[in-house]
């Protein structure tokens, strides 16, 4: 057997990850564009999970999704329908998609389409609902559903048309490069990115709008939400990560995602196999009135940002949120420095001013994670453990070490090293 050249495979994989050029080209209905989407299929964040094992926010989002889809009218019917086995569940990641927090995506939902023009693959993500009571945190009351419908029926067409009419779409990689220089890290903090995003859309939205009230509402919605750009960013990251997946012999992590119960990773050279372990409890700061007791287990596909070298990995570029990492700007720099230990490259497009424009650490090598005992840092929002309460804080969490150890053992078996 020829010796596998792991370093070389990882170089290829990370190069594909960095050279991927994600362009946001439009918004479409999930059923029409997401591969193998079905009307009774409900996509969710993280690795596969059954209803019984789902966390509070995830179950709430499932109920909300079914109501939004018009399949049921209320919680009781939704639960009956699920228990009758009439609903199929699958991870967003298995359908070229990603979704923040619960990540619930249904067939009628509008989704962003992001095309990696370098390698040709496409990734999808739903639209961000803003703060407060929202589906992604498991809320499914009438006002939540009403807002979702407005997003689907009013907001999405406006944005879609603007994107289609703007000649080249929006280059998300370029937008991120810029926002990382403006105090964002691309996961917990997307303030600058969301402003850039709104600014790019505004001229086209106003130009195309037949009704200026709708244009105003749409732009106001984007501008009020510092996470507006998170979903297209996540889809962009997904398109980069997918480009790096499937490189024979590579030990790079190409997916890391949480469903509130388990965290799962996938490895570039190990095909479709998930390696899972129990999610951790984020260590963070809580909104007034909430404590760690209220927190749900770690949840969401948004760790796709860390997977491609931003988010927690780019902490040094976001000194404003160092409180999440317990302190000082030096802590933020140390957080990024630590991630260089477990990555194979420095990003050629995402750079950090505070580190003398050094590229962000990119391409997590499971060998380094296991050898050094350092797991990836994740910046994350914290959901309330009960469905529908919403976000209660934000902070830092790490994946369980066993997923990397299991992946390493599996790799050795797969490649005949044992």
């Amino acid at each position: 057997m020829a010796k596998i050249k792991i370093d070389q495979a990882n170089d290829i994989a990370v190069e594909r990850m960095m050279s991927a050029r994600p362009i946001l080209t439009g918004i479409a209905t999930a059923r029409d564009v997401i591969p193998n989407m079905e009307d009774n299929l409900l996509l969710h964040a993280g690795p596969p999970v059954e209803w019984e094992q789902m966390s509070g926010p995830m179950q709430g989002a499932v109920i909300g999704g079914l109501i939004f889809e018009g399949l049921v009218d209320n919680e009781t019917d939704a639960v009956s329908m699920v228990e009758a086995g009439e609903v199929k569940f699958a991870p967003c990641h298995e359908h070229s998609s990603v979704g923040p927090m619960a990540g619930v995506t249904t067939a009628s939902m509008k989704v962003y389409e992001v095309t990696n023009t370098t390698h040709g693959n496409v990734a999808y993500s739903n639209l961000n609902e803003g703060y407060g009571k929202v589906l992604r945190y498991g809320a499914f009351s009438d006002d939540v559903i009403t807002k979702l419908r407005w997003m689907n029926d009013v907001l999405a067409p406006v944005l879609s048309e603007a994107l289609v009419k703007s000649e080249n779409g929006i280059d998300v990689r370029q937008l991120l490069s810029e926002s990382l220089h403006m105090g964002d890290e691309g996961h917990n903090r997307n303030k600058a990115g969301s402003i850039l995003y709104t600014a790019k859309l505004a001229p086209m939205v106003t130009k195309l709008a037949i009704d200026s009230n709708i244009a105003s509402e749409a732009l106001q919605f984007l501008a009020d939400n510092a996470l507006s750009v998170l979903n297209p960013v996540m889809a962009a990251c997904k398109s980069m990560a997918d480009a790096a997946h499937g490189v024979d012999g590579s030990t790079l992590m190409t997916i890391m995602a949480r469903n509130g119960t388990e965290l799962g990773i996938r490895i570039s050279g190990l095909g479709d196999k998930w390696f899972t372990g129990p999610v951790g409890q984020p260590d963070g700061l809580y909104f007034p009135g909430f404590t760690a007791e209220d927190a749900s287990g770690d949840i969401g596909d948004s760790t796709i940002t860390e997977t491609v070298g931003i988010g927690g990995f780019a902490m040094a570029s976001a000194p404003a949120i160092v409180a999440f990492v317990s302190g000082t700007p030096q802590d933020a720099i140390n957080a990024t420095m630590e991630m260089y230990e477990i990555t194979v490259s420095e990003h050629s497009h995402f750079t950090i001013p505070a580190l003398n424009f050094r590229g962000t650490p990119v391409g997590v090598d499971i060998r380094k994670v296991v050898e050094l005992g350092i797991t990836p840092r994740i910046n994350t929002g914290i959901a309330h453990r009960d469905a529908g309460v919403g976000q209660v804080g934000a902070g830092l969490v790490r994946p369980p070490m066993n997923v990397f150890e299991d992946a390493l053992v599996s790799y050795a078996e797969h490649y005949g090293l044992v």
Partner: protein, 572 residues
Amino acid sequence: MTNVTGEIRSGTYFDSVVLMQLQKGMLELDGVLDAGVMMGTQANKDVLDQSGLLPSSCRIAVAEDLIIAVKADSVSQASAALKHVDVLLNKRKLIADDQEFRPRSLDMAVRTLPNSQWVIVSVPGRYAAGVAREALGFGKHVFLYSDNVSLEDEVSLKTMAADKGLLVMGPDCGTAVIDGVGLGFANQSQSGSVGIVAASGTGLQALTVTIDNLGSGITNAIGTGGRDLNQQVGGITSRQALDVLNRDTNTKVIILTSKPISSRSAMELMQVLHALEKPVVVNFLGYAPPAYQIGNVFFASTLREAAKLAIELCDKLDLSTNMKSDSQKKFASSQRYIRGLFSGGTLAYETLLVLRAFTTGVYSNIPIDESYKLDDHASSHKHTIIDMGEDEFTIGRLHPMIDSDLRLRRFKQEAADPETAVILLDVVLGYGSHSNPAAELAPIISEAKSLARRSGRHLEVVVLVVGTVSDPQDVVAQTNILRKAGAHIETNADEAAIYVGNIISGLNTTSKASLRPVVLDSSGQSLAAINVGLESFYESLIRQGAEAIHVDWQPPAQGKDNLMDLLAKMKS
């Protein structure tokens, strides 16, 4: 009623300072009477046991395990104290987090301090060779403080280092002074002209201190680790270190010290010493030197004596004087060996003894080491010293002191051998001996020399003349005759042996595998080091003004053997 409880944490590593702080922190907790936090080595377990701090649950701990044990007034207080361990550890971490980033891997440390020349390794022995090997892979010299490194690993590390022109000091190397900066345990001493190579840590410290107290100073003091001069290791580091100091323009005199070593290693090293251009003061504890001085090598029996002698030599030394004979310049390349034809057995034996300091392989019919016994006394092999007074030569004839016929024939035989560079003869005068041995020898010597000259060789003939002016033959008259014939005259066996020893070590240097030179002060920049292990070594580097970085090292794969094995297979 007191209660002792404890727990084991596997695959964790903390430096001992942290453990002591943790222990202190636990003692301040409510109801805690005593606490012990130690790695689970047998020695540590004994210590804990003696203090009644080794609950049965902790007896199974191994060296890589951390034992945390508490003695408290009540069970609940004891378990509360155990639960508090993480709080105490994290408290420290919070303080540490305010510092500059501390790399966890050597890879990162090298990228952070790329101009570092040294990696200081003091991690537990089980992991030390791995870290050292990685350091050599990055092109760094290694100061290997860790002990419990196998001899096999030592040999492979040093061989790898030598191939790359790098130095491995250690394992179990406690001290060194490089470029004025002390590594490990070291004393602050002034800079000067003495270079030190030491296989003994305290020996090195004692020397630097004595030299400093005597008002002088050192250039570099290089530790080798106690086993470097073992047969298996072959003195790789010692040889490299000697070469470094030999080339160093600031070093005038070198001191070499070691705990007792086998005389075979000592002999081998002696040849290296003779090839150096500088005076070397040797202090091998327990080694009986053949002389006070042999060429450039001086022997001292104590550390203090070595220090004093080295300083004296520095003061006296006129560096332009070459202490060695320069007669070797004329030899042909085929000429490599000495042939000694003795009539006196004791003179032959003393010659063999002194020559040990220059070369290991001298064949003889009366060898010191039986493996160098000549197969055939009638024909020489490589370096050969023959006692022609032995029975095999005297059966049916007179002793060579009276009848030189056999010896003269053998002389011609050796002179005709193109491999012969030097012929050493003794001439013992006095009553009873031949009445005019010089008259017999002289024509043969001059003829042999001119024969050799005609075939492009230089034949060196050394005659050891033993006699007085009052002897019937008159020593002065005899030596005049021999000198005229072109012989070099010596009057003592040890001096004669040193004279020829210098010649042969000069002849055979080219055949020795030459070391790849080690460069300690690359492009004149000052010392910069990466510290992996004991944090106090890092702190003392910083205090000395050296550039340094500390690696927050942890056992690879949290000490899990199966994963470490897999990782080793997955390094591509």
